[in-house]
Symmetry: D2
Subunit: 373 residues, 4 copies
């Protein structure tokens, strides 16, 4: 607890890496939403392991609806969707089962669940649990696109190699976002992408892994979204993104760069064309006082290198309480950045779905209709 995300649009998550299936229940999704299965499949494909820089655990990850969808449209009642686990090899784990894997949740889960946890493949703590979240969020991302809201993530840096940044020119910026949407390995600069790829391959060969930084841009979000005092846009997005196993930091806009800025440099001046209000710069990432101001929301997360490395590591045998050495077997990702990009998009979408629904609530003001007809 709590495996429920959200307040008025909620997602309840369940499943373990080596159980029969993983899934989630979406509640609070309005009736009459057409499910875009092609888009959902495309999103799932982005998250799926493939190529030679991902785990060899390969599964089709077909999404099956168990409730809440009728004749292709949502019914308004809970949507349960599941994904079967079809490539489970628990034998790999049984060899090392009482040895705590460093960087994993083995030890903390053991303490929290008194040894009753399903530790196979990380159990409920596995990154595999993000698959149903991607499926669920694809419904909202598709709706957002239809309303001019886009969420795009690129690999800002991987194993020390940096991607180029977004352009200040609105036209190029827009092209960059379009370009990224279609990519499996989401970088703006394909040369940088190749160098990242090589670094990942090299780490894989060494039985090691690499991390990096993911940068997300949300455009088209209207002003006025976010709930003070505690449910600011930053609070809500950070809450959701720290659910991704491996995320250990987040910053918005100028982020940690603010530490060396003066107030006169950090503030974003307001300008108007007489109709709409903009900011000249966007240091604050489209968020003032926790509420969107209509400019793009920009954030970066750091994703630590995957803890499953094949080099021998010092650890403890929890059964005998003796120091030991572990050598991990099984199939693991030397890098998850490229697969995590769509997960980051997805969690941002789930948070925004919840926040825009809250913001769209009842207006009690005079002269305004207060119940949607």
């Amino acid at each position: 607890m709590s495996n429920i995300l959200g307040k008025v649009v909620t997602v309840t998550l369940f499943g373990e890496s080596h159980g029969p299936e993983i899934g989630c229940v979406i509640d609070g999704l309005a009736a009459g939403v057409k499910i875009n299965m092609d888009f959902m499949r495309a999103q799932m494909e982005k998250r799926r392991a493939k190529g030679d820089i991902s785990t060899k655990r390969r599964e089709p990850d077909n999404v099956i609806f168990k409730s809440g969808v009728f004749n292709g449209y949502t019914t308004g009642t809970p949507v349960c969707l599941i994904i079967e686990n079809t490539s489970v090899n628990s034998a790999d784990y049984s060899k090392t089962e009482s040895f705590l894997r460093p960087g994993h949740a083995d030890y903390t889960a053991h303490i929290k669940y008194h040894g009753f946890e399903d530790a196979r493949g990380g159990g409920h703590f596995s990154g595999r649990l993000t698959a149903p979240l991607v499926a669920a969020a694809s419904i909202f991302i598709d709706l957002f696109k239809g309303r001019g809201i886009n969420i795009v993530t690129h690999i800002a840096s991987c194993a020390g190699v940096e991607d180029i940044g977004f352009s200040d020119d609105p036209f190029i910026f827009s092209e960059q976002l379009n370009l990224l949407s279609g990519k499996d390995f989401a970088v703006l600069d394909d040369d940088a992408g190749l160098r990242m790829y090589e670094k990942i391959e090299r780490a894989a060969k060494e039985g090691d892994s690499v991390g990096g930084i993911l940068e997300t841009v949300i455009t088209g979000i209207p002003a006025g979204i976010g709930e003070p005092f505690f449910d600011s846009v930053e609070s809500m997005i950070a809450h959701a993104l720290f659910s991704i196993p491996a995320v250990k930091g987040i910053e918005f806009g100028t982020g940690f760069g603010f530490a060396e800025k003066k107030g006169s440099e950090a503030n974003d001046a307001f300008v108007t064309d007489g109709k709409k209000i903009y900011t000249k710069t966007n240091n604050n990432a489209g968020i003032n006082g926790g509420i969107t101001n209509g400019m793009p929301v920009i954030l970066r997360t750091v994703v630590k290198p995957t803890p499953s490395v094949y080099v021998p590591q010092q650890t403890v045998n929890i059964r005998t309480m003796e120091n030991a050495t572990i050598q991990i077997h099984g199939r693991h990702d030397p890098c998850i950045l490229h697969r995590a990009a769509v997960v980051q998009d997805s969690l941002c979408a789930l948070v925004l779905a919840d926040l825009v629904t809250q913001a769209a609530g009842l207006s009690w003001q005079e002269g305004k209709s207060w119940i949607t007809d």
Copy 2:
């Protein structure tokens, strides 16, 4: 909405900068807790503006209990505490009231609340709202201290000047924490503190402001705290800390430094003395899979420079929808880092109070008592 933080220990916040009083209601605080008024006053004193590097708005910030405390002990029913606003000067704001202050919530609040917001002094978005949170949290911090859990924050950097880091030597580390607890301007290295002080004074003279980084260490927290999947320790702390106006980034342990590390470097090896399990390093900040592992929880936030600067700034007159120049009056902080340190401690304490209460819930296992007697 939502002005309620927490699930089983909740804090409901209310008030505006220029209203009669600000306060909060704590629900879920057990009966029989002795209120340590001296400690509460000491915590409030840390947050209070004083000296020449803070706003000239000076208030006693006496905490008054309106409910939930009887004969010095909590009753178990809601604790309402309030602080009166005694030094309000709304005239300063009326001069510039239709001019949106850059970096503030003026514009976003205007959009969200359709012009009905109380914009004086930032209204509900004012940093002043953190005062009742410090008061409420002091109850929990005091309880935590009695159980060997300490939360300490220092100014890791201010206006580009860096404080020294914590020592690896456990004895010195422990002394450093003790030392910091008593300080108004929380730095480990007083020389660095002096240089920060000078930078703040210089910025103040220039009508400008500075930002920096706050680093918090939580020691003594037992293993097993934190709730997967969505309510990880990182998620919950980040959620709370992004409520602090000005926080724009957070990282745990090695944080953004993970981007250039390999998995073999990032993992913290487990070791045991046969009784207890430790990690040799603490890159993961005492948190694996979102759950505490018993090592210190370490985090850093970036605090942007206060947006209230006296230099003229470009903005929009929201009434006439014309571009304009604003020159802010009133009394403002050229730096809030030193005052924000105790706020950061406080929000961490509120989150931990909620999480440890959840973790202490009912045990259904055989042979265990299931209701506390």
Copy 3:
């Protein structure tokens, strides 16, 4: 815990009978709502003790806003309102303080709060805590009236004397509702009211008390309000009304009368005039499957006689754990039905405010605007 009612429109309640003040914080109330102070005072007056059939504890019950209201309109941020306790006489309680008052929460509060509860006047369990709820709800009742939604309660029976029922004739029915709105002692038949009054006076003289049944009618509520599966209109209203100390039963429409009906008699046939759909009868109280169908919502609660009676009662001295006899002193109500009527209206209004706000949420359907402008 939990002293918070509601999900998107929340009320956080605090205070004790003999503390300095009682109050609540409303969160989720939209900006721009004009506070109708005259109406609020009128509602408070209905709940206030007066005449010779109520407690002699008499207080002005002035409502003071501490936040969230600016220039007479709501700001959109939390509204804190309080009422001072001005007529506290704790001496009455100290005489009998270790003797558990039968029918009160003395014993259960003692167990739950380990003796730290503020037992004076019932503390947090006092019916006095309903005063801030009436104040808060008056804002919503006033808004509802402006939109054609009316909530009216009458004393359906008191001490065995029954009021007449509502008329089937829509015109007379409407007149009856209007008439009730203005009454302090809300009965349709004033003769029955007089007989109730006499019964109450007689019980008062005997040092005893009486109970009865309150019937509430909600008209004008549109179809489609209520949230399956667990937050049906019946679930939500019942949840709120059982918060009123003394309510021990609730039924909707035909209620317990359904036990002897056949399905063919219990169903309400649908009819249409080609534009709108009605039901011919209203056995189901305007609720099908937990959701409103547009017909009046009708419910009855049973209010037990006030437990504070002056006759000697057998009890236990909790300090000495000996059997004893208690004779209660202090000022008490021989009947609370007439004062509870407006409390029942108020809790229904708070529930409806929450439910209509939820129902008015975001529409994601094609061709519909999804964010209120």
Copy 4:
């Protein structure tokens, strides 16, 4: 929304009557609980249609675990359980699909979900949705039994025939509870049961249906359970029980009988044997001020006759908006009381599981351990 019940022990419900499966996700259930499959099957069997007084829709209702159970014990992470719909005959519904069935949620669902609802067999509003709740609750009922807490429901009246009441003699009372636990048609007096049976058969022959009253007794619940102000035991149980389609009223203890009682008669005197405190009578159903006092919790609900009757009924064709006559086809229950009894037990158990977990929370008092070891 909301299809989530509970705060710290939550159940998220999903599914439709004619979808592939129905199920729920339990979160907050501690690790290490042994699943008693035999008991779960026995509970499911009580709810299952069988004999000639139930619908002819017959399904095995096997419970399948999809997550959260490993080697027969709970893991501490979410338990997803499902039941397949194996006997679906949607053809029956297609004949009458645009005709609103009186007493059902057809009309209100249509309004709420704009025609996108899955109306087949009542969709998400079907009583079939109670099956996963019975399965989930069986885990808690089994745990409660192991700790001396029993929840038992009997048919207090059906179609006007009354069962005998519980005995005042504690020994006989205890025997009555034992006896009821094993019965499919839960009555104390088998003769009355036979007469009820005949009434149901007669109604079935007439194409009609009957209702009645269910009485539940919860014994062994310790004092101190329940959360003021809004989450009283009555509030929480009523909230849950009104989720059962067909429940239209609830009363605790003396219930509506309190309307004609005096305070001196209604109060339950406290008595002690020097060790424990009891009440001499139990008019207040083991609940004072919303909190349990250790005496049995007793409640009665009224269950309206099932709305699916075969006699022709007046209704509206929602497609053409014309008045019409409907004759319902399909397989329906002439009475659901005997099947609803275990559902009532189950929802009480889910509420109690949530409340006892909350009550067992952290103790902050001096000298008490505050984290379970």
